[in-house]
Symmetry: C4
Subunit: 294 residues, 4 copies
């Protein structure tokens, strides 16, 4: 449909508008898209409210067609303008962009099934359009980078939680049994998750004295363990951030003490992106050994 070898100049110009954020046109495009995303998601939310759907259904459906059309044009334009087309199509953003428009078209192909659960599911998948917003979360970059940095700690924390809820769930299945709502181990583990994270719906809760005693002790211990574990994670992150702050040295004025995600020196305004971290070269093997310890 879109030839790969046409005049590169309009493509380049379009790319600047669509993928860039520095030119006035690029910023304008972003703002229009932001408004479209937010109103389209709101529209889908309203469609899901029965009372509103029954009164304004036609209007909301019309709007939905408008949004889908707009996002279809955006999707086509992105594919046309992208430097590496397949890379874009299979990227996280490309898939979100596709899922934002596909369900409506598929729904057209199966009109007789309009009321099936599968179609309703499909239609609602369009709400994941909200994920398009991630593209504009540059401001959250600091947080994201810090989270990626702490990914290993989070995995260990999750593993610890998973082990705790499996053991606790199995224990309560044995103690309380199907008669008191703990009808299977998976369901008991669901209860343990809801309990250990302190969500505590109360849809399932121990009712025998022994079950309540075990649950009480498990909750208290779990609470203390997780509070201290959280403290340890925070303490280690603090120590790492402080060390990194000391170790980043401005290549222009040679001063340290910069914020962990600073991109410019706070003393001379120089570019920090190539600033050396005060760490000597180590060969790959040693670095790997250290990674395993982290």
């Amino acid at each position: 449909m879109i030839a790969d070898t046409d005049d590169p100049r309009p493509r380049a110009r379009l790319r600047t508008i669509i993928f860039g954020t520095d030119t006035p046109a690029g910023r304008g495009f972003d703002i229009v898209l932001l408004v479209l995303i937010v109103t389209s998601v709101t529209n889908l939310m309203l469609v899901s409210v029965a009372a509103i759907e029954s009164r304004f259904g036609a209007l909301l459906d019309g709007l939905e067609w408008f949004f889908t059309l707009a996002f279809s044009i955006e999707y086509a334009a992105r594919i046309y303008a992208a430097r590496r087309r397949w890379a874009y199509i299979f990227s996280f953003y490309g898939l979100v962009d596709l899922i934002s428009i596909l369900p409506l078209y598929i729904g057209l192909l199966l009109p007789e099934a309009q009321y099936l659960v599968a179609v309703r599911t499909l239609r609602m998948m369009r709400i994941f359009r909200v994920l398009k917003l991630v593209r504009y979360a540059n401001d959250a970059g600091v947080m994201t980078r810090a989270l990626r940095h702490a990914q290993r700690k989070m995995q260990i924390f999750l593993g610890m939680l998973a082990l705790m809820v499996t053991v606790l769930g199995a224990l309560m299945y044995v103690v309380e049994g199907p008669a008191h709502g703990f009808t299977s181990i998976p369901r008991s583990i669901y209860w343990a998750i809801v309990t250990i994270t302190t969500v505590g719906y109360g849809d399932i809760s121990p009712s025998t004295p022994l079950g309540q005693a075990i649950a009480g002790i498990a909750i208290l211990s779990g609470y203390a363990i997780l509070a201290v574990t959280g403290g340890i994670i925070t303490a280690e992150l603090t120590s790492e951030i402080s060390a990194q702050r000391q170790n980043t040295i401005c290549p222009h004025c040679e001063r340290s003490g910069h914020e962990i995600d600073a991109e410019y020196c706070k003393f001379c305004g120089g570019d920090l992106s190539h600033a050396p971290e005060e760490e000597p070269a180590v060969d790959e093997h040693q670095a790997h050994a250290r990674d395993k310890l982290d």
Copy 2:
């Protein structure tokens, strides 16, 4: 009603009493007002309890008239004494002062509507008198300033939460559906908020095995992500506070290490309010660039 050009001396004296806290009269005024606010809010709480209202209604209504009168006089006096009257009237405190008295007067104008919901709402708005207490929360200044300092982090945290609950809410709407209480996407998002923040009322909770499995995984992951995010925020705040403590230098004795909100040097007692932070001049543009990265 109140002439703008009368003798300035009584106005100035009144201003010292009402807005100042250093003179004995000013302190006395504050204490009287504090007592009035607390008793008036208590009075409104008692009015809202049906059993008490039916027995002591007349007494409580009388007291309410007394409080409204007292706060009306206070409001008039503040307008009269304020240096810049319109600025006061449209300030946060001015609006709170107005809302503390207005509802009763409006209620008078619509006496036949005494039992309408609108009037009950109006009457209860007077409980926001409790916000008058914010004026006396000087002690909490450290906390407030620190919170304002961390405002950006809080916004990112809120944005992250908002995205998480929208996606989770939409997912559960699709999986559980209206038959199990997830009657619309907004309601599913309400469930997701109540779940991710670990409030967990249990008024809505997943009941299908698939829904419980997805909810269980989402709760565990959300718990771990938010725990680590909280740790990152704390770690960054710690790093910033430590850095600021090092960077504030007393202009009198040239020593550093002061608390982040200290107003006097802890070594020589000198005024720190003009203490330089150990940061060289940067031009406005660079400062702006750094703000964006924060």
Copy 3:
């Protein structure tokens, strides 16, 4: 009853046993008392379980008489041996010791009222014997001192919470109203407390769409505000503890870096109890000014 001017030597010896913990006799006394407290509290718990009380009531009552007698002797001995008797009687520990024995004696005076609520209440007050354990919580001293140090921050945090729940409770009373369980402002505030602290029983929960929307936004904002506030408190405590660690200097070997509650130098083992904190003298007035800022 007990003469104030008898032979001081047995009193002094008794005091060493009762109040001291360094001699073998003192340690033995402590261990016996610990066992008595724990078994007596367990006994009271068992009495409160109807099924157990109906079968073993006589035995448990007998044990209770034994415990009360033992604690009565202990109370008399403490008064006899205490250096300043009235100070002991009106101290926290003295009152706990009295409340541990008094209810049973009062119950004797009103035997015909054996089944009244007032008497049941009285009897159960004996469970506060568990507070006698505080005496043995020396190990928790570090935590207690740190908590006292952070008392101001805790009060500000509590004040902030109190304001938040009052405003949120009043708002929801207006929005949801008595028809949906929010029958009075105090009850709405109870709901707000249960919600903001993420306990979330679900005995009261918003049921109108508007109420759920407001509650959802309040929960999300409250969660973010409290997470960041917790982070700020932690960050300030970290900064203070680090500073104090640097500022405590061993008077023997003149090295710093000791734990905040260390009593001996970790380098030379010298006594730190008179170690100077590296802070110059300030006159009382300035110190007071600083306290207000803290």
Copy 4:
């Protein structure tokens, strides 16, 4: 069954495969075992789901026999290969390995009792096979060591929680009484645990105005106390980790600043396992005195 004095060479080779992780064979053995554990635990979970058990019961039972046989062989091999057999048998891992297989064999001896609760309990104990995973949690070593380091703080925290819930539970038993669900002090303490840790099932909750008032105040205070206590624990951990980072000195290049659990110098890659912590020798008695203060 297994002679203690056979040819040591196959035993040593087997030991390398079973207990070691460095050789290809050892790694392969670990991977096979990991897969067996996870699938076997999943199998047991499926057995506990009535709908699945009734349809695929025979298949799942067959698989269970296969898993039990495999783990039995593993158990026998471990006993055969272990350097100190009794030490292994009575170690945590040895007991977990035994409990993974024993229940099925015991179940065989009492086949007529197939449906008794005791047997169901026995069968489900096999799910604790999941604890075999702990063996592979080497990656979590950092966390485990940090948790052991903070064990003392956790105990104090737990003790504080235990005292709080006992007092609050007894108070609510007196205030609300059996008529409102607080049927005994142990049950009231269960409620207090569920409340203070913010789980909040709602299966028991205060219903009298006085009970709600007391619960509200207790929840608010408890929340503030625990938030600040958590902050203190985190602050002390941060301070300790920072100090330790400064105190570990590489014996090769004499630089400090290493992560608390680093095993290699991050500057020269040298082995840190014998690195001195910058702490002079203290005699045992002083060390003990310091431990008590910690």
